[in-house]
Symmetry: C2
Subunit: 169 residues, 2 copies
């Protein structure tokens, strides 16, 4: 899939078929995530690949917006690693770029995914920390259920000229 088309047509996928994602695709998705830019190239991220059915079902209990984990064969937890930051305060941006690459790679492979938010909601951070045994310096940013799309929403442009300013606001 051409990159401009991928950017235009990526959507949040919340319904999945009941079949697994091949390991080779998981590797390609993780590689794309790790190619994201980061402040001073610190790469302050960690990833937890979740395929265990009980763990995915447990994630679905954290909050209402991650219920689609019950259907997904795979989820990837994207975390910031504060011990790897070289420019304090930028880990959220670095890990968000990694998450966006992950979503685009999944779309490019014919899969679907959805970014569900964790940080900065403290109760969600605590729940993921407990479920996945995260040390104190590793902060869960977001969780992406991933799978073969059972339903693909229509894509329509979100271009909004009101949000574009020229040379001054």
């Amino acid at each position: 899939m051409e990159v401009m088309e991928a950017l235009r047509t990526r959507r949040s996928i919340r319904q999945f078929e009941n079949r697994p994602v091949p390991d080779e695709m998981v590797r390609e998705i993780l590689e794309a995530a790790m190619m994201a830019p980061s402040a001073i190239n610190a790469q302050p991220w960690q990833f937890v690949v979740v395929t265990d059915r009980a763990a995915l079902d447990a994630v679905a209990d954290v909050h209402a917006y991650v219920k689609m984990a019950l259907q997904a064969p795979l989820g990837i937890l994207v975390c910031g690693d504060l011990s790897k930051e070289r420019y304090p305060g930028y880990w959220v941006q670095d890990c968000s770029a990694a998450m966006e690459n992950l979503l685009l790679a999944a779309h490019g492979l014919g899969l679907g995914a959805v970014w569900t938010g964790i940080h900065p909601m403290e109760e969600r951070v605590a729940a993921y920390r407990a479920l996945f045994n995260l040390p104190a310096h590793v902060i869960p940013l977001g969780f992406a259920p991933i799978g073969w799309p059972a339903k693909v929403p229509e894509s329509e442009s979100r271009f909004n000229p009101d949000r574009v300013h020229y040379n001054t606001y």
Copy 2:
């Protein structure tokens, strides 16, 4: 360019040829940025497209890591708009996804770009706020100088198996 290749080969470009970026490409880049996912699809972003030579030169004075603005024919300032947030606290992630889409679109079009960080460094936020007349509810996240690459760094994989955990950390 195929999306997986674009994800693998996008690099920060800091040297640019002395020729302008066509308006149609600026529009495509902005459209890609606005297709980013955002919490509850709030799209809490604003963009300032900078082509004015004096403004680009002024940006280069903000801090040492944005000196390449002196050479660039174009820069785009990505801002969060707190008045548009529907899920407080997620604007940094939403706008980072938009910035990453912007960088990938530029790469896909044969251009080069580099994400230079602003928020959360308060002195940088203040400098951009003054330069571009940003209201209090609009926070500059990052500035991307964009142009035709004069020098393209080699791409090598950043895949690091130490950052991947399976089902538990």
